[in-house]
Every structure is written in structure tokens, then in C-alpha cells.
Amino acid sequence: MSIRHLGKPVRIEGVRKAYGAAVALDGISLDIAPGEFCTLLGASGSGKTTLLKALAGFETCDAGSILVDGRDIGPVPVSRRNIGMVFQNYALFPHMTVARNVAFGLEMRGLSRAEIGRRVDGALALVSLEGYAGRFPRELSGGQQQRVALARALVIEPDILLMDEPLGALDKNLRQAIQQQLRDLHQAIGATIVYVTHDQEEALFLSDRIALMDRGRIIQAGAPEDLYFKPANRFVAGFLGECNFIPAGDGRPGEVAVRPERTLLGHAAAAAEVRLGGQIRSVVFTGTGYRVIVDVAGRVVTALTDSDDKVARLPPGSDVIVGFERRHAMTFAA
């Protein structure tokens, strides 16, 4: 399939949208580079899906503009935007076969029958569904339907590909397999992808860039590593991965945030730069090791240990040293 360098840059400038008194988008600005996999991450009601629908043209904006490749697409009707979209429930046309579903967008573009056939075959090959052209959507599994939806969106060679929680309806194992396929696919075709999810692990795994949203605003946008290790505030630190909020120690005021995997216990903490005293509350076996919940001056602190760590064998109530290195402590204003 000859989908290459599809990616167009997207610029979102001061987009606002309200439904009556409820503000869904409160002045969103975001630049997405060509070929970038950008994830809108947030809880439900954060405005991520509204922003996606505004990009697609399914909802109007009250203010602000959206530029694709430098062109304002505000006045462009949905059918002329050349944007591919994968819906949460796939939205396959139930009365059409897989091939007809994938061909639909090409038929709208008035391509010749031969060209349509060639490109449909290519798109189905891309998502490994060569033998399924004649099936109806209801005859496919959830994962296969998802791939048909992807093929249908990609075959029109869209300027941007929008995906609205496309893996939400799949079970965990299948989700992980498809995440890997999505990554590979993105690297192969280099499309600009705007991806919506509430699953922080999925966002970390897939994205070149994550825009974390809350109550209609972007709280922080950046590479996954930036958001994980340099969260702008407590909200970001708490939303992406787990976080312990620990007194700064050394007689300093305030608190610092330390990831559980950077939180040291027992003999591992003995040589740490910052050390605090605590009591073990509970120990949970997770397969790869143990999650140890420790009470530090009335705060709950979580640490991860190896499965052969002796700390894990201490009974609840035992005193234990909790420590961390200063370079692993994250500080922020709020």
C-alpha cells in the first residue's frame, strides 16, 4: 500500500465550545507536527472527545480556529475535510461487506472501479484482513471490526487520522496486541494521528506527544517522558502513573513527588540521599514483585520491590526505612 508521508501539520488556536452553560472546551491551543502521534488524554468530561469532534467537523466551535497544513478548515464541510476517523464503536456500515465499507470513501472520491479494488486490497492487506473482504461486520470479532475501521479510515489517505478510544471495547490482551500493531503501522505510514483515550498506559505506550486535558483545558502537553518525569503540577503527576507525595525531608518545607518504582525500602533505602521512617501497612504480590504500602507520618506511600526482597516478608506494623534519591524527587508549584 502506497500510503506514505500522509501527515499534515495541525494547529489548534484558542478553540472554545460551550453547550449552554457547560463549557466543554475552554480555549484550547495545540500544535501537532506532521506525522506526529498525538494523544488527547483525560478523564471523561475533560473535553478530549469534543475536541476530536471539532477537528473532524462533527461539532462547530464557538471561537478559535483549526488549521490543517496552514488552511483554516472551519468553513470546510465534513465531507470535504479529508480526515480519517476511527470511532469508539467502529461505526462500520452494518449493511455493507468489509470491502464495501473500505471502498465507501474511495467511491465518494469518484475513483475508477479498478483503482478502488486495488486500494481496498492494499488497505485490507495492511491490517491483515485479506480473506475477509466478503464478510459483513457482524460476522467479525471486535478486533477484526476495529481493523476494518482502521483500513476504511486510512484508505482515503487522510490528512489526519482521528481515533476516538478505538480500543475501549476490546479485552486487555487484544488491546495490547493492537497497540503494538498501531505503533508499527504509524511508523510505517507516518500519518498525523490524533488519538483520544482515558487510559494513561495506552497513552504512554503509543504517543509521540501527550496533551493531558482536564475540564476543557490542556493542563500539559509534551513527550511522554516529559509528562511522566517532569509533571507541571500535582494533577499531572497523579494522573500519569502512580505517585507518592512525601515530605521533602532534610527539614525543608513542602512535599515532593516520587514514583513508587523510585521509592526505596529497607536496606535499599539505607544509602539513599533522603531517608524517612515508616511502618508497613500491607504487602501485595503482583507477579513481578511486591507492592508494599507504608505509612510515613500519616501519609500512604507505595513502593515496588523485587520478589526476593526481604522487606516483603516483614509483618504489617514493622518499622521500615523509606528513602529516595533527590534527583528522582519531582517538585512543582501547586
Binding site: 465550545k17 453547550y19 473532524a56 467537523g57 462533527f58 461539532e59 462547530t60 464541510p77 465534513v78 465531507s79 470535504r80 475535510r81 479529508n82 480526515i83 480519517g84 476517523m85 470511532f87 469508539q88 464503536n89 461505526a91 462500520l92 456500515f93 452494518p94 449493511h95 465507501f104 470513501g105 465518494m108 472520491r109 476504511r152 479510515a153 482515503i156
Partner: protein, 566 residues
Amino acid sequence: MAAAHIQNGAGYGRMLGRPAAGLPGWLGILPYGLVLLAVFAVPVLFLLRLAFGDAGFSLAHFIRIAEVPIYRSVLLTTLSISGMTTVLAVVMSYPLAYLMATVSPRVRSILVVVVLLPFWTSALVRTTAWIILLQGNGVLNRILMGTGLTSEPITFVYNLSGVLIGMTHVLMPFVVLPLYAAFRGLDLATVQAAEGLGAGPWTVFRRIVLPLTAPGAMAGAMIVFMNAIGYYITPALMGGPAQTMIAQMIADNITRELNWGFAAALSTVLLAATLLIFVIFQRIFGLERLMAGGGGTRGGEAFRLTSRGRTSGGILTAACGLLVALFLIAPILIVFPMSLGSSPFLSFPPTDYSLRWYANFFATSKWLDAFLRSLQVAGLSVTASVVLGTLAAIGLSRTGRRWRPLLETVFVLPMIVPVIILAVGLYYLFAPLGLVGTIWGLAIGHTVLATPFVFITVRAALKAFDTNLELAARGLGAGWVTMFRRVMLPAILPGILAGAIFAFITSFDDVVLALFLTNIRTRTLPKLMYEGVAHEIDPTIIAAAGLIILVTIAVLAINLLLSRRR
């Protein structure tokens, strides 16, 4: 104590082995089954037998139908009028269903009332209203001539246009309701996906909306066609001689020609056609579709209007939908105020308002008697059909799965078979028994017509009833009767009440059975109205129509209040 324990233990064991302990299925089914056999199957089959000759087997009557041009043309008229009505109903339903699906919830509930109110108002009242509106010196012609658009009255009624307007109005809700359900069942994302792939509004309609709503429209269309071919009142009152349909031909051969054999042959043809459509319907859509609207969104958001608003095509369609809604509600909106006028001449809007004609209605013994008799008959048939239908529904739920589809089909047949056939068959059966001209004969007939409605609503309520509740109650030590009274009955009561309301309206509105089974001393309100409308419409008839509309609104309001409380 020990004995009680053992008893409970035994009960529990029985229950585990066979949850049917309690009311045996066959006992529930039996009463309705016997009634169907005695006053539905027997009269209809006796009637059909007459079609094949008095002595020995003969196809002479059928050959006559096929060979005499006038009968052939009646069959053709029946098919073409039914076909045209069906097409009109579908074409007019689309914009209305689209409008209903794309307005705010408040406007939507108004539109639902606009569809349901005429749907549940007696067909006779609606036909009467259309005649008042459309006749030579009717409301529409006076408006047209008053504004100078025409110089002389246009004949809207007693011809093809009259029949089509009347029948489309009466039968259209059968398409609107399933089509509206289909629109609501449309996934918004599916429509948006097509747009995103480059489809404009017309292409979205043609390639996505139309194919996905077509099953709903088809289901409605088949019900309309099936009803239309057996229709009696509307073509008889609003058509001319050229619009004679097969049901009128059957009635004519009984009442005027006294040719029972030929009427029976015509009935056989009509019944065969009706059952053929019913079987096709059942094959394609299943019986469920007849009972429920069908549809419902499979996950995702239902089709609606987004913040982008309507396209110009959408605005045009919505405007058409609004006109169709007006068409549906117009007769009620115009006739009801007219009934409050004081002039002996029909006029709209009335120059002054009074209750004069209602007072006249209640002061005239023939009207009052007929009204009270209608209530009496309705009371009898509602009681009987509620008992029969509820027992049958409970009985069916305790019958082996193998028999259920067959029994279910048989139990709704009185809704399918044209009323004219049942009317003629019961007349034939009841005349020698002295039941014609009594309210008992009519009440029995209405019970047959109304029980399927109770059966269907109670059956739906039972399907929603969690059988574990029954087991839980029995497990806690309740006997079957106690369990039924305290657990099952409260759960299915709304279904029984809804069925009772449908049964009441079925009985209260019936004209066709009353035409054959009552005489001048036992006629019901609809029959008296029918005689008046066929002869000349006087203001008291309009008051009677107004009264029937009021009763319908009251009954629907009760239903609404009861379903709200749930």
C-alpha cells in the same frame, strides 16, 4: 415444625426439578384457546366452507369472481388503493420520523402525542372529521372559496382522493412508529463516518439512512397493506362507487344480495391474501416486530442533530415533516372546537361556543342509550379479555418452548384476520343461537378482538419479569398463589393495565362487528354515528365525535400517568 420443614423441603425439590410447579401451563392457555376455537375458528371456518358450494364441492363462486369483470375490478381496486395507501404512508412517514428524531426532547414528546392521539382515536371519528373537513360545503372548500382561490367547491370526498386521504391518515401511524424507532436506532457515528469519508447529505440518506431504516419502514408498510386490503369503514364512507373494495363487496352480498356463498368466497380470497402477507411478515421480521416497535441503538449515540444544525435539505425535510404532523392532528384540532359551536350549521371556527350539542347528546335517549350500551359492552369485553389474555400469557410462559411460537401466532390471529370476516362469521354463527341483537353477542365478538392486545402486553411484561424472583419467593416459603399475588402480579400489573386500555379502545371504537351483531334496539355509539355519517352529518354527531375524542384522551392520560408512576 418438623412437618413444615419437610413440606418446604419437598416443595423446594419439586421446584428445582420443574419450575412450572404452580399454575400448569395448559390450564392458563385453555380458556382463551377454547374461546378462540368456539367463537373465532368455528365461525370463520364455517363461513369459508360456504364458499365451496352448499351441496358437494364446487368452485363456482371462485370462477364467478375470476370471470365477472366487475368483481375482477373490485379486486384490482382493493389492491391498487391498498398499494397507493401504503406508498403514501411510507413516503409521508419519512420526513415526520426524521423530524421526530432530530428535535429536542420536549418537541419530540409533543410530536409523539400528535402521532399517538389520532392513532388511538376511533377510525370512525377520524373518517367523520375528514368528511366534515373535505365535503362540498366543508371547512376546506369554504376556506378555498372564501379566499377566492377557487370559485366552486372541489370534490375531495366520495372519490379516490377521499379514500386515500382517509386511509392514509388512519393507517400511517403503523409506519411512523417503527420508522421513528429505526431512526432512533440509527447510530450517530455511522452517519458521521459516512460524512467523514466524503458523503454529502443526499448520499448519506441514500446509502446509509435509507438502507438502515428500510426494515422499519417495510415492517410498517406490510402492516398497512395487510390492514388496507380488508378495510371497510373508510372506503365505504369516503369513497364513491368506483372505490368499492372487497370488504364492502362482502358486506353487500350478505346484507343486500343475501348471497352467503359468494360472500364466503370473497372472504376466502381476502383471508388468503391477508394470511399470505402475515406469513411473509413473520418470516422476514418475526412476530416480535408486530408487538414491539423494534430498533434501539446498539451501543453508541442515537441519531440526532449536532451543533452544526440542519443542511438546506434537512430544513426542507423537517418542514415536510411538520406538514405531515399537521395532517395527522388536523381532524382532531378542527372537529373538537366545532363540536363546541352553537349553530345548527357546521362552521369553523365556530362563531360562538356552547355545550348545546353535548347537552342535546345527553338529552336524546337514542344517543345516551347508545353511549351507555357502548360502555356496557366495553366493560364486559375488557373484563373477559383481561382474564383470558393474562391467563394465556402466563400459561404460555409455562409451556414447552416447542409449542410457544405456534401458540403465540394463533393467539394474535384475531388481530390479523380482517374484522369483516369475523363479523360475518359471527353473524352466521350467532343468528340461529339468538345472540344477534344482544349485547352479549357483541361483547363476545369484542372479547375475541381485544384479547390479543392483553395477551401481547402481558407477555411483554412477563418477558421482562425476572424468573429468579419467582424462585426466590418460592424458596422463601411462599406458595405459588402467594408468590403470584405478592411478587408476579405487581410486576406485570402495568402490562395488564396497558392491555386493558387497548382492549377498551378496541371495543369502544368498533363499528364493523356492531354493524352485523346489533340491531336498532341494541346499537352502540359508533354504530349510531356510522348510520348518521352515512346519511347526513348533524351537529350531535360532532358532539359524539368530540366525546369519543375526550374518552380517548382520558384513557391515554390514565395510561401515561400509570406508566410514569412505574
